[in-house]
């Protein structure tokens, strides 16, 4: 039993955090909002250069062969930075989905995964839990669900209609396409299993980002609580204001271990991975939503403006709330688990046997 990250994992986390702090600033994000498409090839290239797009790509396809546990701290930092590029979904959802196809698709996997690893190609995933497809406009290959099936559809074969999210960094699209035998890469039992895994991975990816977002909003609000003076004092010195932030800190603190356990369960393919992911998505989302609500309150009227950076992070939290399964969906899943006959509850039931 060891509930700590390895030195390698922590060191990589530190270096990626440093990169994001310097490169993905609120100013840079606002700049991307002004650009057509809202994405930066240059930034994606830098992420690839850091090895990030290769993380979960199997070694045989030029990747690092790592897993969700190796990436979860980085996903948290992507949330902390509100990174607009779809790195987290690529690494945690799209790549494992493509890599999880049956052996007969080795050529397809090799072609695309090696290019994803090197940063030359990008993926997008259309899943029934999400009404629209995020970042379809920059994808070279789209993995699209159709009933039980999964189709790998090149960008040339789809038509996109852009939608608009509350979060200006999100780029969502309705995708018009025609399923065919040529595009079908999974169906039936294996299609269902891959779709279910994609949902769990997506929920985990959201949970990690939500926790990072919660921490960022705490930091922004705490900084502001020093700057803003009323009644001759920094507003952060008032207990009522302190307690708003302390309540967020409690929620965020008690999401962390839930998130990391979910990452561990996903990485090891444990039987409890789905429930663990749902649990993580629920509590990390709640932490982020409370951080948004209390963060805006600490800012007063300034929190309601476009000018203050807080909204960059609030809006991501609000947007991700409904992505990869709503809280209702995830609560229902946890409920089904807890209330089932013979559910493993109580002291000593938390961890799966080796």
């Amino acid at each position: 039993m060891d509930f700590t990250f390895s030195d390698d994992q922590l060191a990589f986390h530190d270096s990626v955090k440093g990169f994001l702090t310097n490169e993905v600033t609120p100013e840079a994000i606002r700049d991307l909002w002004q650009r057509d498409g809202g994405r930066s090839d240059e930034l994606w290239g830098q992420l690839a250069e850091l090895g990030l797009t290769a993380m979960t790509v199997p070694e045989q396809y030029g990747g690092l062969g790592l897993d969700a546990l190796d990436f979860v701290l980085l996903a948290q930092e992507c949330g902390y930075a509100a990174l607009p590029e779809p790195l987290v979904e690529t690494v945690m959802v799209a790549v494992p989905l493509l890599a999880g196809l049956a052996d007969e698709h080795r050529q397809l996997q090799e072609h695309w995964l090696s290019r994803v690893a090197s940063g030359e190609a990008r993926l997008a995933v259309g899943h029934p839990s999400n009404p629209l497809v995020a970042d379809a406009h920059i994808a070279d290959l789209l993995l699209l669900c159709h009933g039980d099936e999964i189709h790998a559809v090149p960008a040339q074969q789809v038509q996109l209609r852009a939608s608009e999210s509350v979060d200006p960094s999100r780029r969502l699209f309705a995708v018009d396409w025609t399923p065919s035998d040529a595009t079908r890469v999974a169906g039936g039992e294996s299609g269902r299993r891959l779709q279910a895994e994609a949902l769990d991975h997506g929920a985990l990816a959201c949970a990690a980002q939500q926790l990072g977002l919660a921490n960022r909003m705490i930091d922004i609000a705490v900084d502001y609580s020093f700057e803003r003076k009323q009644f001759g004092s920094a507003v952060g010195s008032f207990q009522a204001v302190k307690h708003l932030m302390a309540n967020v800190a409690v929620k965020a603190e008690f999401s962390r271990a839930v998130l990391y356990r979910a990452a561990f369960a996903a990485a090891r393919g444990q039987a409890n991975a789905a429930i663990a992911a749902s649990h993580a998505k629920i509590v990390a989302t709640e932490a982020a939503l409370l951080a948004a609500r209390n963060g805006i309150q600490v800012h007063g009227a300034m929190g309601y403006t476009w000018e203050v950076d807080l909204h960059i992070f609030m809006k991501r939290a609000w947007a991700l709330d409904g992505a990869w399964g709503t809280r209702g969906f995830h609560k229902a899943r946890v409920g089904d688990f807890v209330f089932a006959d013979g559910a493993p509850l109580g002291a000593g039931a938390t961890f799966e046997a080796r």
């Binding site: 390895s6 010195s237 204001v241 302190k242 307690h243 002291a347 938390t350 080796r354």
Partner: protein, 388 residues
């Protein structure tokens, strides 16, 4: 990261389980806040110690097993799973014990720890005073040095277990010119010393679970001082840190409460579902108990690797105390109109002990530093917000 138990840990669990199955009393003991219950719980502590399960994290020389924190969590899981008696000496073994090991002299450790482990000496805590509750630095009870003794005068209150306990520990003002956190000294006081008067305070359930302690020129030898004179605040903070942190409220307790709550809900489903919020509250109890468990394992792993408990441990106290209230409120809501009934009274079949737990849960956000104080600590020390 490897979230599975080792063979050795599994074997330890099996050993604990087997011993508890053999030894846990078939019927629950009467409350340790009654004279008979206190005696029976003291006997149980002796028995636990005979099995070397009294305080498994203590060194073997002191009757422990030198267990690390993961093994301690495993022990606690089995302990609560078995429904074993509450620990009447928790102020000693969980609070003072670790502090003694950190600050005590070899002579003090040899004098106090073995008798603490056997239950021969049960400890009460003596923190609060009538005008020093959340503001503990306002302490006024004084200890005046007189040769190789301290002469203690003043009053402590809300002293848990003091009615039948043998000893108390607390901080006293040794420098009359001092104020606030300075000039305080941590002293161990036998409750049978001349000049000590203990006046029981009935708590919410009517039982005298805590007491006032009056000190009227009580003479205590200097060797009962823990740490340096004037350094009592630091020693006390270490104790309070253990209390807030890992030891006092192990996750197993809340996991078992959550498990029983799920069972209560399943047994009364038709009535419970009339209020559509109940199902979610039950599910949330499980999620939160699980989160508290995972968080504790994470902290324990970090400490084993040489990490330190920091200000984030203040989040623990808030989390478990509010969870405890929430779980018991939900249970009473499932029990409906019978929730008010005391166990064994007319018409109370099947109400169990939820009412007792509910009453006790009301104390959680208050003792060991109110949750408002904890929130201040989180804001100022964990988040770095400006001080008032």
């Amino acid at each position: 990261m490897d979230l599975a138990y080792t063979e050795q840990q599994d074997a330890f669990r099996a050993e604990v389980r087997a011993w508890l199955e053999q030894n846990v009393p078939a019927e629950p003991l009467p409350s340790f806040d009654t004279e008979e219950g206190f005696r029976l719980h003291r006997d149980w502590e002796r028995k636990l110690n005979e099995g070397r399960f009294g305080m498994v994290t203590w060194p073997e020389a002191l009757g422990g097993r030198g267990c690390d924190l993961i093994e301690w969590l495993i022990f606690e899981e089995e302990y609560y799973r078995a429904g074993a008696p509450a620990r009447v000496n928790q102020n000693g073994i969980f609070l003072l014990g670790p502090t003694l090991m950190e600050y005590g002299t070899e002579a003090q450790k040899a004098r106090f720890l073995p008798k603490m482990a056997t239950g021969e000496e049960i400890w009460a805590q003596g923190w609060s005073e009538p005008n020093a509750g959340s503001d503990m630095a306002a302490i006024r009870s004084k200890a005046v040095r007189d040769g190789d003794h301290y002469v203690i005068s003043g009053q402590k209150t809300w002293s848990t277990r003091a009615v039948w306990a043998d000893w108390t520990f607390g901080i006293f003002r040794t420098d009359p010119e001092s104020s606030r956190h300075r000039g305080l000294t941590f002293i161990l006081v036998p409750l049978d010393a001349p000049g000590v008067t203990v006046r029981p305070i009935p708590q919410l359930d009517g039982l005298p679970g805590f007491a006032e302690i009056f000190f009227d020129e009580v003479r205590v030898p200097v060797e009962n001082r823990l740490g340096e004179e004037g350094m009592g605040w630091n020693v006390a903070m270490a104790t309070a840190g253990f209390e807030r942190g890992l030891m006092l409220r192990s996750p197993a307790r809340f996991q078992e409460t959550a498990r029983r709550l799920v069972q209560l809900y399943r047994d009364n489903r038709a009535a419970a579902d009339i209020d559509p919020t109940v199902r979610e509250a039950v599910m949330r109890a499980w999620m939160d108990a699980e989160a508290y468990t995972l968080n504790t394992y994470m902290t324990a792993s970090r400490l084993i690797k040489g990490g330190k408990i920091g200000a984030e441990s203040s989040t623990n106290k808030i989390f478990w105390s509010e969870l405890d209230q929430q779980m018991h409120e939900t249970a009473l809501s499932i029990l409906g109109a019978r929730a008010e009934l005391k166990p064994h009274s007319v018409g109370a079949e099947g109400v169990g002990r939820w009412l007792d737990g509910f009453l006790f849960s009301q104390a959680g956000p208050i003792y060991a530093g109110t949750n408002e104080i904890q929130r201040n600590i989180i804001a100022e020390r964990m988040l770095g917000m400006p001080r008032a």
